[in-house]
Amino acid sequence: MEQLILELKEHLIEELNLEDITPEEIDAEAPLFGDGLGLDSIDALEIILILEKNYGVRLANTAEAKPVFYSVKTLAEYVMQNRK
């Protein structure tokens, strides 16, 4: 789980072009959207791609993804349950 969380953070930094931020600085339990990392609807689409490309986990749309996308931790849990 810890390894997966670190991996997800690295993907987020890389794919979303988050500048000046290290994986350690991202709180795995803090909200990704709104006040947390300040991500938006486009980032949500990019995260759907991260999950599908790296873990084969599919999410049909952003509405379904909402609870899953709360934090890095919820993302990791969803990947654990659904990865192929």
Partner: protein, 269 residues
Amino acid sequence: MRCFVGKIVTHEEVQSDLKQLIPDAALRRRMSRVVKMAVSTAVECLGGVAEIPRVDAILTATGWGCLADSEKFLRNLITEQEQLLNPTPFIQSTFNTVGGQIALLGHNHCYNLTYVNRSHSFEDALLDGMMRLADGESRRVLLGAFDEMIPSLETITRRMGWWRHHTAGEGSCFMTLTPEREADSVAQVVQLDFPIEELSAEECRVRYATTPDAELIYCDATYEELYPTRSAARFSEAVQRIKAGTKEVVLYNNCMGMRPTVLVLQWLG
């Protein structure tokens, strides 16, 4: 129809730090090189993000647009065979990205247009701005031009034989325009014309110069560095000459095989 030119800045003249000019990290992280170049030139020209709300028209001009993002999306589309494509380069590839990002950065709801007409793009946007100022629809216009060169465009245009006599260039230039003379005015545009036929240097003088001392900047296809909105940088050069004491500059632009344009700039008097 005339207008006054306030501050004018080219990308080479941008002094401030990118993070200061574009403080919104969420916007900055999605910006390609050309968008960063153009938006930072615009903000430097205005003197900071806080000044963006003071303009009431944002006009941008680009011949090529956001090429790097267009190419990135196209390459992904081909390599990934239309599956699982990242949306970011697509949304950033539109021609009005720069104008939209300036509005977003300054929360400015004003008129926002983008002209994409090869070597006329800058002059067309200027015409729009001058008409708005003349009609009283705008009191302070932000006008800018930008183009980027990317390796594949250089390769393709080299194969087309473009670079036998000049080199591939890129750049951005932004300025403010007002209908009346303001404290920051440095020159005035007194004429903008779109002649149907090509003109010689002599014909330009006869037709457009109002004083024998007028200087002519005559640009045909002999620029050292070429890109569609190069005439905006030449416009900046004309403004520098006025600032240095020249009373009138006639700027003739016919650099990329479209019809020519002619601009007449004068000192403030």
